[in-house]
Each structure stands twice: as C-alpha cells, then as structure tokens.
Symmetry: C2
Subunit: 476 residues, 2 copies
C-alpha cells in the first residue's frame, strides 16, 4: 500500500476537496507555478507543451477558414474603450493601466489589452476601403490582462494567453454565419481533440460579451458539476463598426458600414482538461494534446537486453510520430508508475526480461487503469490504435458523466437542489432580467446557455409562460 499512500500524501482527495485537488494537481505535475505578482501564473514546460499542441491544431483550422495571423499592440489608449458604451462598462473596471514610460508620466494613460476589439477596429477602419477588402479575417495569439480579485491558475488569472479572432463582413448574414462557423470549429476541436463534450448555444443578454449583439458559448461540465465557459464566438453587429468607423464602398458605389465578429479560447482550456478528466491519481490527458503520449518503464532494467529493447521500442514509436519518452532514471518502477500516472501520460508501457522473451509488452491505459498484454511485433501501430481508442473512450466517458447530470426543474427549489447536487439544470424562463437575477441570488447558479429546440411550460421563477429553456449551473 506504500504506493497508494504516496498519492494520498501528494494530492488532496478529489471527492473530498475538489478545489485543493485542483491546486495540488496543477502545481505538483509542474503544469504551472505562481508568479511573483499576485494573480499571475508561470506556465511551466509541461503545461506550455499542452498549449502548443492546442495552438498547432486550432491554428491550422483557423487558416482553413481563411483567417490570417497578425499582431496588434499590447497598449491601447484609454480613450478607445469609451467609444463603445457597453464595452467600456464591461472592461474599464478590470484594466491594468500604464502611466509611466521611459521615466516620464504619459500624456494619456494606456490600457494593457483585456481584449482587442477596439484597437483592431481602429486598424480595420484604416485597411478596409471597398467591398473587395471584405471579408477581412485576422487572429492573434497573445497575452491579455484582466485585473481579477480572485484568481486560480488557468481558470482566472490577471494575465492569460489566448487567441482572439476578429472579422469584418459586408453583410449581417455573412457575419452571423461566420460566428456560428467558428463556434462549430471550437466544438469539433473540444470533442475530438480535448475529449470534452460541450453544450453550445447563445448566451442571455445579461451574460453576453460587453458590446456584442449575440454571444455564443461552449459550456463544459467539470467533475464537480460546475460549468466552465470554454470559448466564445461573438456577433457584434455594427456596434464596433460604427464606433470605429469601419466603412466600405459597396458594389453600387454607396458607403456602407461593416458587420464584425470576434472569437476566442484561452489557456483556460488546460483547466478544462484537468477538471474534466482528472482523477484521484492526478492528471488524465487526452492523447491528441498530451505532451507525452506514451512512457516506457523498463522492468528489471539492469538485466541484459532490457534497456536495449526499451530503446529500440522508443525509437520505433518515435519514428511513427508518437510522442514517447523512456524513463531511464534510477527510481523504482513503482515510483515511476505513480509519477507518470500523476502526470497523466495516456499509455504506460512496461517492458521486462520476461515480456521481451515472450515478444510482448504490458500497456497500461491511464484513463481506465486497464493493463493488457500487447505483442511487440508491429508495436507502433498497436500503440497508435490504443491511443485512438483512449481518445474516443475519454470523450464517451465524459459525455456519459455529463449527460447523467443534466436534470430538469420547474421551480426555484428544484434548480437549487439540482445545482447543489452538482448538476446542470434545465428550466423554463420567461425571458425577463428580474427572474434571471433572482436565480443567481438564490442559487448561485447562472444562465449558462439557451437550450435551443427545447420547450417547457412555465418560467421556474415567476410561473409565467416560458419563452425559452435555459441551462443553469454554477460556474467557474
């Protein structure tokens, strides 16, 4: 039981103290560390490698949609924020402000970007002259800053990394369609690459992005039943185009105003992975984005031929494009098992003298902890198949866990009981702000997303006719 005890010492019990479990996991697996300034994080190599894998995949998908990367300045004149009324109200309170540069007080204070609609809007206004310049689709991978009171690594930090796409279109229809296209790209990515099922749809007016006409969201259920907003795609209508004068000469020679969109996901996705798949032993990483997909642990490493066989296997897997590492350290196999399980490596291969003699290896799946004997012959293909199965099974397992925890309620007590039990609760809503506010006050749950295509008789708060069905949950 020594091994088990080692876990117990290292990581808090996921069922007893989920927040502490999360903190232990992110720190002890070296995904992240706290920065010296309160609320900041250092993303360590093991965490950053996940982000690099996310970037690589999403970046390719954006490019397939005709989105080009660019880079816009970090510092935005404070006056820009005031140009769109809702936007300034939403972001001004959490902005970090530069007031001194090169030893001198600045004439105008500068905001560190919390998001870049305003500065990109001002540049688009300069770049877009005629309908021939449309659609314009740009994206940047960058850091942004929002001064937050309560912070947690990956989930909410004063600085984080993200991508923000911004597009301008000639018509409302095209802009709205593109907003949904990007939501679709995100959803497909979440499911196939991160193995995270998401509910997608529109946000209520109260919850939408400051300055948007419509915000579409992806909501993922974490293992504690709370929702994590994992990415958003916004249709801005002409709000920013009017504020920043993004106009173009239409085909008929008339000056028209463009329609814009924006969409983003952030390093928050790493938090989503941890809290969707992690377990009492630590991380469980989906193969597609795992920094290491496979670790080889030699058994009886000093016996003749073992290290050589492990190295040959490592070379074979590497050649096939599998991200593999061979653990040749002096630690005991048991110690290594714990270590790599904690780090969430999808497949552990154990290879010892008897296995080699029998032409076999032991493959242990991190997701199910299942161990199977697998022939060494044609090993790369077999490991690839196993990784593909894990990826698929992780999504299905997560979907099953979530679906079991989506319930319905018809009154406030039902919503409260539902979210207290760690569920997403679907309930009817009349559509008024008062009822939405009341739910938040009394249950600490918020309207996460419209459940499109569903209907309920009455609003769970006021009992009037329900116009919509809403998914309520407590959220990160």
């Amino acid at each position: 039981m020594a091994k088990e005890n080692q876990f117990v010492e290292q990581i808090a019990d996921i069922n007893a103290d989920f927040p502490q479990w999360y903190t232990d996991v992110v720190l002890k697996t070296k995904l992240v560390d706290y920065g010296p300034v309160k609320g900041t994080m250092v993303i360590r190599p093991y965490g950053y490698a996940i982000w690099e894998n996310i970037q690589k995949i999403l970046d390719a998908r954006f490019k397939e949609c005709g989105v080009e990367n660019a880079y816009f300045p970090l510092l935005i004149p404070m006056s820009y924020f005031t140009k769109e009324a809702e936007h300034v109200e939403g972001f001004a309170p959490e902005v970090a402000v530069v007031t001194v540069g090169g030893g001198e007080e600045l004439a105008e204070p500068l905001a560190i970007r919390p998001t870049s609609e305003t500065i990109i809007g001002s540049m688009m206004s300069k770049w877009i002259q005629s309908y021939r310049d449309l659609p314009m689709k740009v994206n940047q991978w960058c850091n942004v800053m929002r001064w937050e009171k309560t912070t947690r690594p990956f989930l909410r930090t004063s600085e984080f990394l993200w991508q923000e796409g911004h597009t301008a279109h000639a018509t409302a229809e095209e802009a709205e369609a593109f907003t949904l296209t990007m939501l679709g790209v995100y959803k497909e990515f979440m499911e196939t690459c991160l193995a995270i099922p998401v509910l997608t749809g529109r946000k209520t007016e109260k919850e939408r992005f400051a300055g948007a006409v419509a915000t579409y969201t992806m909501e993922a259920m974490m293992k504690d039943g709370k929702s994590l907003q994992s990415g958003t795609s916004h249709y801005m209508g002409q709000n920013f185009a009017k504020a920043f004068d993004i106009r173009f000469l239409g085909g008929e020679g008339v000056l028209e105003t463009a329609y814009t969109t924006s969409f983003g996901v952030s390093t928050r996705l790493i938090g989503a992975i941890i809290m969707t798949h992690g377990d009492e032993r630590g991380l469980v990483l989906p193969p597609v984005v795992a920094p290491m997909q496979c670790v080889i642990v030699p058994i009886a490493a000093r016996k003749e031929g073992v290290i050589e066989a492990c190295e040959a296997l490592e070379a074979e897997l590497k050649k096939a494009g599998i991200r593999v590492t061979l653990d040749k350290s002096d630690n005991s196999p048991g110690w290594k098992f714990n270590e790599w399980e904690m780090k969430g490596v999808p497949v552990r291969i154990e290879l010892g003298p008897r296995d080699i003699e029998a032409g076999k290896m032991i493959c242990a799946r991190r997701d199910t902890l299942e161990k199977t004997e697998v022939a060494l012959d044609n090993a790369a293909e077999r490991v690839k198949d196993l990784l593909a199965s894990i990826q698929k099974d992780m999504l299905e397992a997560a979907r099953k866990r979530r679906d079991e925890r989506i319930v319905y309620a018809d009154d406030m007590a039902g919503i409260l009981a539902g979210v207290e039990a760690g569920n997403f609760v679907k309930a009817g809503w009349c559509g008024c702000r008062e009822c939405e506010d009341k739910i938040k006050e009394e249950t600490a749950a918020t309207a996460r997303v419209f459940a499109e295509g569903e209907s309920r008789e009455t609003c769970a708060v006021c009992g009037k006719k329900a116009e919509h069905v809403i998914v309520y949950a407590r959220a990160y």
Copy 2:
C-alpha cells in the same frame, strides 16, 4: 515605361533615400502599419507570416538543443530590477510602468518586461534544488517593451516580439559552451534560412548586455553599409544566479551557485531581411521564410484552358509543399508583375496559351530578375530546384556585397572615411574605454564585434600597441 513609373511613384529610390525606401517598402507591401500609440507597430498578416516561418524553424532547432518552451508573466515587480546592479542601470530608464490595476493604485509599481532575466531567475531559484535539476533550459516566445525615443518598424519599436532563452548550468564551462552553441544555431539559421551572412563574436564591455559577463553578437551589413545587431547570446556568469539565489546541492552535497545564460532574436530579423536583400522594386524574400514562394500569373487568362492549366499547376506545386498562390484578379499581367515583385515573392510563373501549347512556363526569379523557360513536365521539382538555387545565390550575393565593403584602417581618419563610405572598418584597439568612446564621438561608429583571430600593430586612436582588432560600423 508605365510599369517603371508605377514603381517610382510607390517607393522612394533606394540609392537616393534609403530610410524613406525602407518606410515605403514596409508600409506598401503591408508588412506592418503604425499602431495608435507612438512607437508601436501592427504586424500585418504578410509580415506576421514571415515571423511564423522564422519561429517554426528556430523553435525546432531550440528543441533539438534540449530547450523547452514556457511562459513567464508580463509584469515584473520594479524591485526585481534593482537586484542586479548593471541590469537596473541598463533597463530602468526605458521601462513602461503599470501603476493602476482594477481601478486602484498599486502598492508596488510593476514593470512591463523589457527582458525576463529577473523574473526567470527568481523562478529558477525556486525550481532548482540539486545538480539533477541542471541544466535547466527554457525559452519563451513573447512580447517585450522598451520605451524608445526614436522608433522604426521592426528595427526599434516600443513593443516587439521575440524569443528569449534562459539556461542555468552547474559549471562555468558548460554555460559558456552553451552560449556559443546558441550563437552557432543563430548563425546557421541566418545564413541558411534568411540568406544573411553575419559576423559573429564577442562584444566589448561597453556594448555588452546589462548584467552579462560576455555578450556574443551577430552583426549583419545592411545595404546602406550600416550594421544591424541581429541576435545575441549572453554568458551571465553568476551575476544573476547570485542576485536571485539560484543555488543547487552539488554531487558532493555542497551548496553551489549556478551559471546562467540568455539568448534572443526578435522581429528585428524581418528588418534585416528587408535591408539585406531589398532593391529598387521592393522586397526580395528568401524562399525558406517567404510567406508565398511562388505566384502564378495567367497570361491571356480568358483564352480557353489558361485558367485550368494555371489551377492544375497551382495544385501540383501545392501538393509538393510549395507555398504558391494563383493571381486570378482582374488586374493586368503588368500590374500583377509589379505587385508581386514589390512583395518580394521569389518566383513568378507566367503561363499563357503559347506556353501551354509548348509545354513550358516562364519562371522569373525575383532576386536576379532573370526569366527562363522551364518545362511544365515535372514542374514541382523544377520549381523546388529553382527556389533552392535562389536561396543559395541570395546568400552568396549578400556575402559578396558585404565582403567588398569590409576595409581596414589604421587611424581615426581612415575609420571615418570607411564608415562614411558605408563600410565595416576593421582597426586595431588598445582595449581602453577612452579610445572606444572617442571613435563613437568622432565617427558615429561603434565597436560592433571583436574580429577574433586577427591582429593589427597599433590602436587606431591612441597609437599604442593593439590588443584586439575591432569591427567598427555605424549601426541601427
């Protein structure tokens, strides 16, 4: 002559007004635009695509050297800068300072990183405990900020993008060796990927990085004869390790102090490409990093079969991994030639009815403006060969231009005449700061790099015995 006139209108004469030529080229080819805050730049998609190609190649090379990517916070407590005496002196005057966050005055002002030795040093101190943790090699791709009075896109802007690698080692020998390894990686990259020959070597004490024991530089000659410092690799000795307490338990159980290094290149490299290869028609991009390597211009596009043949060729080249675009716009071929020449695309293919009939295409090289007939059969291989030749020839041409402009001088008048004529001037130096200062005062040239392995009799300033040979040049 209409075509020629079009150039004249668009871009200043490179021989008459090099600075204006540079500004015209970067703006008109849409590499970059000015940001709203003075001294900032927006890197537009065409410029950013070059940076992406640079990143991809360098990042892979860093990883081969065991360097892992990470991300450290943007904001650094001001007090960190004061821990290393030279460092604070070098960087404090050009720091941008955040004094307000979330609507409140901050207790301690925070610097936007001008470079990250201090914050990474403080984290390494936490992460490094024993010799087993060494060497530690991290890198980040990020934005940094230095408040500059005089700015120019890519060359000197208040914010720029770069990579900064930081390593810690158990011994001075290993750290020094790694400093030179990274200099070698840079030099090889500059020559084979950017086709830019560089002089590499140590900087004088006056010119070295604030806080380093030794700074190694790459100096490239721009077409106006000025030098551009294109990248640096620093050996820090124990300066930062002492300031930030980076200590480790050695193999013998004794607490020892680590040795650190850092190395970086930035978006300045895009400026180096422009000013090394550009000509009177605009950009000339090296194929390895060109966003588009090849453009196909249909001739008599409305004639039957032309567009189809162009599309088939485009598909064939794309399939072979060539970055190719087919210009199907309504503009005339002459207009397209000018446009793509200005944008520096390495190969232009002209394909019209007669070419198709003859089974040929016209390939125009951007670097030499040479046009040749090339068989359409096996086109991808032929274009690849041509791109490889261009890449090689661009380096050789740049090397020849540079080597012809490296001269020797034995006195101040000789140095002045040399740099006035747009040369790099090699001259003897006694080694004292006074003589170095005097050269800067009287010639506006600075000591760019030690010319290792060379010797001269006397110092060009004081006439005393020369201890070193220095390459002097005016610089960006």
